[in-house]
């Protein structure tokens, strides 16, 4: 097959590309330039898409012995991921930009272009497995990225190649060193790639401006002030700077955010538990599931544990009832349904109860 290997400059995508070559494919490396103004280098584990990352990707392609190009997808990324991220926070929701990037950039814009240019598949360094067209969790549970890929539709999945799904990260690093790839010891990237400072609230404030408002409790009493409701996410405890403690000094968490009223409501931990999660329309990863689903599991964040649930589709929208309950579930987050190790599908959370 003619395979396009997306190479971020990190160790995973480099080994994935090398394995695609070993598997006998005709591989071309492509670094996706996501930023219109790339920084010259990156600081530790934060960010990506710097000129240094582009150079690391180029060097890996040299070592693997494949052609290498840079594709400029900065405009699409800015529109479909970054602008969406800002708009979602402005609306009081908590987006997952990695999910959006996989859905709209890597396995949409890039895949479409690759197919049009004669490629059969896009290979990435994601930790997930595809077996018979179905998406499964990776062998390395600590690195599993099936959550951020669950948004892919069957036709996207059919053209995706994840050569690392069966390996442990430690094996991948060792293999990179054996292959002479200089990125073998490069730190993993964390956080949000386009917020290199790691300060999401500060980054949002630069773009959304100051929008001060009250922090209230469930009875409506003002217990603090904030500089912008967008800086908060449901379940957050730190950084609230509440001025009026509760008599019992129980810690309080963000329960909900109302961007129009500019209020952030806080409550104690037990009030955060939700048993019913209402989502938008589901995207099925494989075949469309028959409803209702009774013994499946739901996961609402990239590294959160899955919980038992019952799922149904009501008026085209996914409704999930979880037992015993989930905490810190924010509108905007992605809910992924699993059947054991297999991904069934996903949907974006609208509200909770």
């Amino acid at each position: 097959m003619k395979v396009l290997a997306a190479m971020s400059g990190g160790v995973d995508s480099a080994v994935a590309a090398a394995r695609a070559v070993d598997a006998g494919h005709d591989v071309t490396g492509v670094h996706l330039a996501l930023s219109q103004t790339p920084a010259s280098h990156r600081d530790g584990a934060r960010g990506c898409c710097t000129l240094e990352d582009a150079r690391d990707a180029r060097r890996a392609a040299d070592v693997i012995g494949i052609p290498y190009y840079v594709w400029d997808v900065a405009e699409r990324f800015s529109r479909d991921v970054v602008d969406d991220f800002i708009a979602e926070y402005a609306a009081g929701r908590t987006p997952n930009p990695c999910v959006r990037c996989n859905e709209r950039i890597k396995f949409a814009a890039v895949l479409d272009r690759a197919v049009a240019l004669g490629f059969d598949a896009v290979c990435t360094g994601h930790y997930a497995r595809v077996v018979d067209g179905r998406l499964f969790r990776a062998a390395d549970a600590g690195k599993d990225q099936s959550y951020v890929l669950a948004v892919l539709r069957p036709e996207q999945l059919a053209a995706a190649m994840f050569p690392l799904g069966g390996s442990l990260k430690s094996q991948v690093r060792a293999e990179a060193a054996d292959r002479g790839l200089s990125v073998a010891e490069k730190p993993d990237s964390h956080d949000i790639c386009f917020i290199s400072s790691g300060d999401t609230a500060g980054w949002l404030r630069e773009r959304l401006g100051s929008a001060p408002g009250d922090i209230i409790d469930e009875s409506g009493d003002v217990v603090g002030r904030h500089d912008g409701a967008y800086a908060f996410t449901v379940g957050q405890r730190r950084g609230l700077a509440l001025t009026r403690p509760r008599p019992d000094h129980a810690p309080r968490y963000v329960l909900s955010i109302s961007p129009v009223e500019r209020t952030v409501t806080v409550a104690t931990a037990e009030r955060l538990a939700v048993s019913r999660v209402e989502c938008g329309p589901p995207t099925w990863s494989g075949a469309v599931c028959e409803m209702p689903l009774t013994s499946v599991m739901a996961q609402v964040r990239a590294h959160g544990g899955p919980v038992d649930c019952r799922a149904d589709v009501v008026d085209g929208r996914l409704v999930v009832e979880v037992v015993p309950g989930l905490t810190g579930v924010a509108p905007g987050q992605t809910l992924v349904l699993y059947d054991g190790e297999a991904v069934l599908g996903s949907a974006t959370i609208d509200r909770t109860a």
């Binding site: 790339p38 000129l51 190009y69 814009a109 240019l117």
Partner: protein
């Protein structure tokens, strides 16, 4: 493999390789006073005379540098600093809108950091700076102009500006004109004295010499502040131990390129015309950019620059590369991202057309087989790239 990117860099002439190899094992700092130093100095000075002779300059007007970028920086910054030191009002830098980044970026930097005012002199639809445009730019405030810089031949589309005319015009106002002749030397008749420029950039690797060596021809009476301070090896305008083998190979390449120019330019132009004709046969809506004139003095002989409507230049480049045909899009930023060519934008083309462009450039070792390979590959590549359209944007 068909190498159609000679304007990026062209293979060294075998004679230049031999000359360089012969000298690489030797010793001698051209500034040393002993016999080995004198031997090295002799090679440098003979090379200087060779370059001067080939390009119509006096030997003392040849300043050896590390290549085109350094020469351009030296001319733009050095002339600016000197002229401003003479008269503090002289802060306007007039540069062609389609200049190479090695001229544009120093001028932009001077404007951002050194109190200069950058004036982009517009080019016409073919990429040429017309004398009237230069005159208009000067006339705004003639006493405030520090320098003019206009390239002899454009590196992307190959259009030639009439440097003698422009230099004469600048001279009416006693303004020095620098010209980046990196693409011109070897392709066009370049005579420093006759053209009237105050400074002229030439580099080795575009004409069969090594990378990393070039020169700035700098008129004897032209003051130019140095970029590199130190031993003052080159007329006190440029310091740094001279690279004797590279300078010798560069000089030989300049000499040979100029000797062979007339004959080579004529067969290159006919090969280029064949390339253009056959590409347009295969892709009838391909648009040739730059001056389509058959007058050899109005365009570089080896350059053909096209826009392929509906295609992304970088997609085409990749598809052609996979078929063994090597060419280039406009300018690439340091990450390797293809940006829409500022040259085409300056020529009044829209971003779509600028993004859909590719440059094919022929050189001393090009053959009809290179053109055959391109003609065989371009049709399917354009078809593919067109179907991909602008999906990733």
């Amino acid at each position: 493999m068909a190498y159609l990117d000679h304007a990026a860099t062209t293979p060294m002439l075998p004679q230049a390789v031999d000359r360089m190899a012969e000298l690489l094992g030797g010793v001698g700092n051209a500034s040393s006073l002993h016999a080995a130093g004198r031997r090295a100095r002799r090679v440098v000075e003979e090379s200087r005379e060779t370059v001067a002779g080939a390009l119509g300059a006096r030997p003392s007007e040849v300043v050896f540098t590390s290549g085109g970028t350094e020469s351009d920086n030296l001319a733009v910054k050095g002339l600016y600093w000197s002229r401003r030191a003479q008269d503090d009002r002289r802060r306007r830098i007039l540069v062609g809108a389609a200049e190479h980044h090695a001229v544009l970026d120093p001028a932009i930097w001077l404007a951002a950091s050194e109190g200069a005012e950058l004036v982009l002199v517009p080019v016409d639809g073919m990429g040429r700076v017309e004398p009237a445009a230069l005159r208009a730019a000067i006339e705004t405030a003639p006493d405030e102009v520090a320098l003019v810089s206009v390239m002899w031949a454009n590196n992307e589309v190959g259009t030639v500006s009439a440097i003698p005319e422009l230099a004469a015009l600048a001279a009416e106002y006693e303004i020095p004109l620098h010209t980046d002749a990196v693409q011109a030397v070897g392709g066009l008749a370049v005579d420093f004295a006759a053209c009237g420029a105050a400074a002229l950039t030439v580099t080795g690797h575009k004409l069969g010499g090594p990378v990393g060596v070039g020169g700035l021809l700098l008129g004897r009476d032209v003051e130019c502040a140095p970029l590199l301070h130190g031993g003052g090896q080159e007329r006190d305008v440029r310091s740094g131990t001279l690279d004797v083998p590279a300078i010798a190979a560069f000089a030989l390449a300049v000499e040979l390129a100029v000797q062979r120019r007339a004959e080579q330019a004529s067969w290159l132009a006919s090969l280029r015309d064949e390339l253009v004709r056959r590409v347009v046969e295969v892709v009838p809506d391909a648009q040739l950019n730059g001056d389509p004139s058959s007058d050899p003095e109005r365009r570089l002989p080896g350059t053909a620059h096209f826009s392929f409507p509906g295609c992304e230049g970088d997609a085409l480049l990749m598809l052609l590369d996979a078929r063994g045909v090597e060419c280039s899009t406009g300018s690439a930023c340091s990450a390797g991202v293809a940006r829409p060519s500022h040259v085409l934008i300056a020529m009044g083309q829209d971003e779509e057309r600028a993004r859909s462009s590719l440059r094919f450039s022929l050189g001393h070792c090009s053959t009809g087989a290179d053109v055959d390979a391109l003609v065989a590959a371009i049709g399917p590549a354009v078809e593919r790239a067109r179907s991909a359209g602008r999906t990733a944007r």
